[in-house]
């Protein structure tokens, strides 16, 4: 084996070693959560890197809790509503911002971008007042409203850049065919914008699904909570015991749908994001 081949081999090995490090770094916490969730409570604090026995006790425990099941349902309702509202408003807004010429269009775009830069904590108290005033406290409606506020800027930006790339003549052809703006959006643009819609929709879904701060602040009772809060509030037998097993089981339960969703849409996420970013 000559030197050239040796160097090539070393580079190969180095590359895979690096990939291994990154993989372990990224996946290990989740892997450990899965393992922990499948252990009986007695073995919780023994460090194991492999699964020695399968025990679904923790899963059984969380799914027999009515509040947890309720929290999952709340999360689904809230997240899906946020996605639906954000996409509906996003697509109509992006038509206006991307296609209609009007004075102050850039200002509006920059304002939208500016809004998304505020940290959640900064608007928390103000938003709390708004939600109280709208009578949405301790109601999923309040969460849908606040999540939409934070999701919409990103949705509008990505969809606008995407909308701008669609050829002008396509819209004019639709106009010549007698289409109103609404028909143009729904019959001509929407079918072409699925990649962008899938991307932004999925990201909106993930954001809403994982959100904790608002969910904690704007809800009061168990039956209105979403999953992240419900997990945080799982308590053990005494105040000195943290029930890691059920917490891990719950975490895994709520993460798996996201992983599946991302895997289904991953191709579209990539194409959608680059389409919006690079060519825009």
């Amino acid at each position: 084996m000559n030197q050239y081949q040796l160097i090539k081999l070393a580079k190969r090995v180095g590359l895979y070693a690096l990939i291994a490090v990154v993989l372990v770094y990224a996946v290990f916490p989740f892997y450990y959560a899965v393992i922990t969730s499948l252990k009986p409570s007695g073995e919780l604090f023994r460090v194991d890197f492999w699964l020695s026995s399968l025990d679904f006790g923790n899963y059984a425990q969380i799914f027999t809790q009515k509040s947890f099941v309720r929290a999952i349902l709340n999360s689904i309702v809230v997240s899906l509503s946020v996605v639906a509202i954000a996409l509906l408003l996003g697509i109509t807004a992006s038509y206006a911002l991307g296609r209609v010429r009007f004075r102050g269009r850039t200002t509006v775009m920059l304002t939208i971008l500016g809004v998304s830069m505020f940290p959640q904590v900064a608007v928390l108290s103000g938003l709390f007042e708004v939600i109280r005033a709208l009578n949405l406290y301790n109601n999923p409606g309040g969460l849908i409203l606040s999540y939409t506020i934070f999701t919409l800027p990103f949705t509008v930006w990505v969809l606008t850049t995407f909308m701008r790339q669609l050829p002008m003549e396509l819209e004019e052809a639709a106009i010549m065919d007698g289409a109103t703006p609404w028909v143009t959006i729904t019959k001509v643009f929407l079918p072409l914008m699925w990649p962008a819609m899938a991307t932004t929709g999925l990201l909106a879904f993930i954001a809403a699904w994982n959100e904790f701060l608002f969910a904690l602040t704007f809800t009061l009772t168990d039956d209105q909570r979403t999953v992240p809060v419900a997990i945080a509030l799982i308590s053990g037998g005494s105040q000195h015991e943290l029930p890691w097993g059920p917490i891990m089981a719950a975490s895994v339960t709520v993460t798996v749908p996201l992983v599946v969703l991302v895997m289904i849409f991953q191709r579209r996420i990539v194409s959608g994001l680059t389409a919006g970013a690079v060519k825009g």
């Binding site: 003549e169 639709a174 106009i175 010549m176 065919d177 007698g178």
Partner: protein
């Protein structure tokens, strides 16, 4: 089918005046081509007729009714776009049926119309394909089909052939011409290609800087260009221009002198012009004859292009930069570097005054 009348049409975008006082009459069933260099406003004019742009000032009537404020769908116009702009997610059938569906046409009427259009354009085999599975020429036909399916009174074409390669362009040009014969509908066609204009049009409208330069049949434009711009724009290779001076002129004709060519007697009426005024002589490449160099009349051949059926001989001009061109049937008599005399065919020489307007043939000559 309908006539179109444009009366003092103006279009202003912000501070730029694109279309200036355009008056035009398009007859029922006529094939009218707007031609001009890029930026002359020909596409804008078409879009004004289509209703995609609003008219700043003036009156546009279709079939006698003023349509200034009507949206495109109520004007009864169909348009074929340069990029075809087919709906990528719809099949050929759906593309053609889209407008009819939006107009809430009955389902069997839609099918009937689409099938009839498809038959005319030979698209029957392709009805279930998506645009991305079609070739350029097929897409072009679908774009025409989509515009035709709603049976518009006027068909508008915005540089429809510029995305096709040369051979396909000739083929599609023929198809469009035959389509016009068969349908007999009014068509307005925009192009920057003067060959397309010449071959397709009943009437050519030459535009320049938002104004109409000349309107006329291809023959009129070729044989009697009203201005130097039209003379240079129509015809390929382009007309040769040489500076000339008026020696004397009356109602029967005139004598001019041009550097190199000597004194020429021409049939143009230069009665209104003072002696010695500067003129421009225009001669088409095929109206020049080459002979052995003769004293002053001596031009150097800088290049010879052999095209098979004809030969272009390029000559060094006495004034200006643009090479003079001589065109003739194949002949290998002339070689680069040779000096030759130019003899224009006096019956086909054009004269333009200092404002670039053509001088008319003298009245006495015309009668005779």
């Amino acid at each position: 089918m309908a006539s179109v009348t444009l009366e003092k049409i103006n279009k202003v975008f912000g501070s730029t005046h694109i279309i200036k006082d355009v008056d035009l009459q398009i007859g029922d069933g006529e094939f009218v081509v707007f031609v001009g260099p890029s930026g002359c406003g020909k596409s804008t004019l078409l879009r004004l007729i289509a209703g995609l742009e609003s008219i700043t000032d003036g009156e546009l009537s279709i079939a006698g009714g003023v349509v200034n404020d009507l949206p495109p769908r109520e004007r009864g116009v169909g348009m074929v776009f340069q990029s075809y702009a087919l709906y990528p997610h719809m099949t050929v059938y759906e593309n053609m049926a889209f407008g009819l569906k939006l107009a809430k046409t009955a389902k069997d009427t839609i099918e009937q119309r689409v099938m009839a259009t498809a038959r005319i354009l030979q698209l029957e085999e392709l009805l279930h394909r998506k645009p991305k599975e079609l070739s350029g020429g097929q897409r072009q036909r679908v774009a025409m089909g989509r515009a035709m399916a709603r049976e518009p009174r006027i068909l508008l074409f915005d540089e429809p052939l510029s995305n096709l390669d040369a051979s396909l362009r000739v083929q599609m040009r023929n198809e469009i011409a035959r389509l016009h014969h068969r349908l007999g509908s009014t068509m307005v066609y925009v192009t920057h290609d003067q060959v397309e204009a010449m071959t397709l049009a009943d009437k050519i409208v030459v535009l320049r800087d938002g104004r109409i330069e000349q309107v006329g049949s291809p023959q009129t434009l070729y044989q009697q260009p009203a201005t130097r711009f039209v003379a240079g724009f129509i015809g390929s290779p382009t007309m040769n221009f040489m500076p000339a001076q008026l020696v004397r002129g009356d109602a029967n004709g005139c004598r001019v002198t041009a550097p190199g060519l000597g004194e020429l007697t021409l049939p143009q009426d230069a009665g209104g012009l003072p002696h010695g005024s500067g003129l421009t002589l225009g001669v088409r490449p095929e109206h020049l004859r080459l002979a052995e160099a003769d004293g002053e009349n001596s031009f150097e051949i800088v290049n010879v292009e052999y095209l098979g059926n004809e030969v272009y001989v390029y000559l060094e001009p006495k004034a200006g930069e643009t090479l003079l061109i001589h065109r003739s049937e194949a002949s290998d008599r002339w070689q680069t570097g040779q000096r030759v005399a130019l003899i224009p065919d006096l019956a086909h020489v054009h004269l333009f005054d200092d404002a670039d307007h053509a001088l008319e043939i003298a009245a006495a000559r015309r009668v005779a």
